[in-house]
């Protein structure tokens, strides 16, 4: 094999390896829990367009959910209660509906009487920015717009991810900063 052919083969092997390495890196990425929260805009089910950055100065809770997700249902009522309890204290809740048919999502919101901002994650772009692996996942954003931790499962007394009490304590701590 002449030198040119060897070079072509070598560059192909290197290219293929780089391709697989990129794929593996993307697969191994974990959800961000610190640093600037990726900004996004969301059109809510009632037609408003909101942007995360417009809530700078407030605590923001971003919750990814889907109507087919049973653990999401387990935390839904609590999240609504928490929102009602904290909305006057400078806390904003944003529900991001992930990979869900719209009619089912609307039914879910009605079923749990959810009143905080909620919209569809079109093209799952927000989910990709936050590198979520599934639902439910919840992210805390501080007043400065930085991420202040995340919860990679449901907020229930027995889930082992975070209990409702711990969640409320976290909100209090963030508010007191």
């Amino acid at each position: 094999m002449n030198r040119a052919a060897q070079l072509v083969v070598m560059s192909l092997i290197i290219g293929a390896l780089a391709f697989f390495a990129l794929g593996l890196r993307a697969r191994g990425e974990v959800q961000p829990s610190s640093g600037v929260a990726p900004d996004f805009s969301l059109t809510t089910f009632d037609g408003q367009t909101i942007r995360l950055s417009q809530f700078r100065g407030k605590i923001v809770v971003i919750n990814f959910w889907a109507s087919w997700c049973i653990p999401c249902r387990e935390e839904a009522a609590f999240l609504e209660q928490a929102w009602r309890a904290y909305k006057e204290r400078g806390v904003v809740f944003i529900g991001v509906n992930w990979s869900d048919p719209e009619p089912d999502a609307r039914k879910y919101l009605k079923e749990y009487a959810i009143t905080y901002y909620n919209g569809i994650d079109l093209g799952t772009k927000i989910g990709q920015a936050y590198r979520i692996k599934g639902v439910p996942e919840t992210f805390f954003v501080g007043k400065d717009g930085n991420l202040r931790g995340n919860i990679l499962g449901p907020i229930t007394p027995t889930s082992g991810f975070m209990t409702p009490n711990e969640f409320l304590k976290r909100l209090d701590a963030l508010l007191s900063e």
Binding site: L12, A16, F19, W68, I70, P101
Partner: protein, 186 residues
Amino acid sequence: MRDFKSKVQSPKSNASPKSTVHSPKSRFASFTAFAALASFASFALFASPAFAQGPNLDDQVNRISKELYCPVCPNTPLDVCDTLACQQWRALIKDRLQKGESEQQIREYFVAQYGNRVLGAPPAEGFNWLAYILPGVALIVGGAAVWATARRWRATRADRAMLAQSPPLAREYSERIEKELRESSN
């Protein structure tokens, strides 16, 4: 009346003309039979699209489902996945088909709504082209490399065979030349 009776009577029939007379009872029976036939025909005519749509629609749902992937289970197409998410997605496909959308429109809707990851293969654009091109190029280059190596091996084997068949003196010279060449290269 007689003429009529002869018309309705089968030419080969040996039955008496009386047997072909339509009594009020038999006329009622014929009318009932006709009405039943007509209603069945009209039912079949109008209802057949709905009957035909059932299996056809399911086939379409399955065809689209085969090409879309579950949002929860890795590498599982919708048509074989039993999660609630996939059930909902299949229902959504059916709903959109019933609304008159084409299969392509539904695929596009799913990509717009849920991203490229719902597809079995990445769309052929930008960096994704590599995924389509690399295997083909690797196959061609690999094949060329195998062919070149095989050719070289065959040539070496032919040389050796020729050497083995040559007279002893020539072989002696050849071996000596090879030995000296090896020594000089060391």
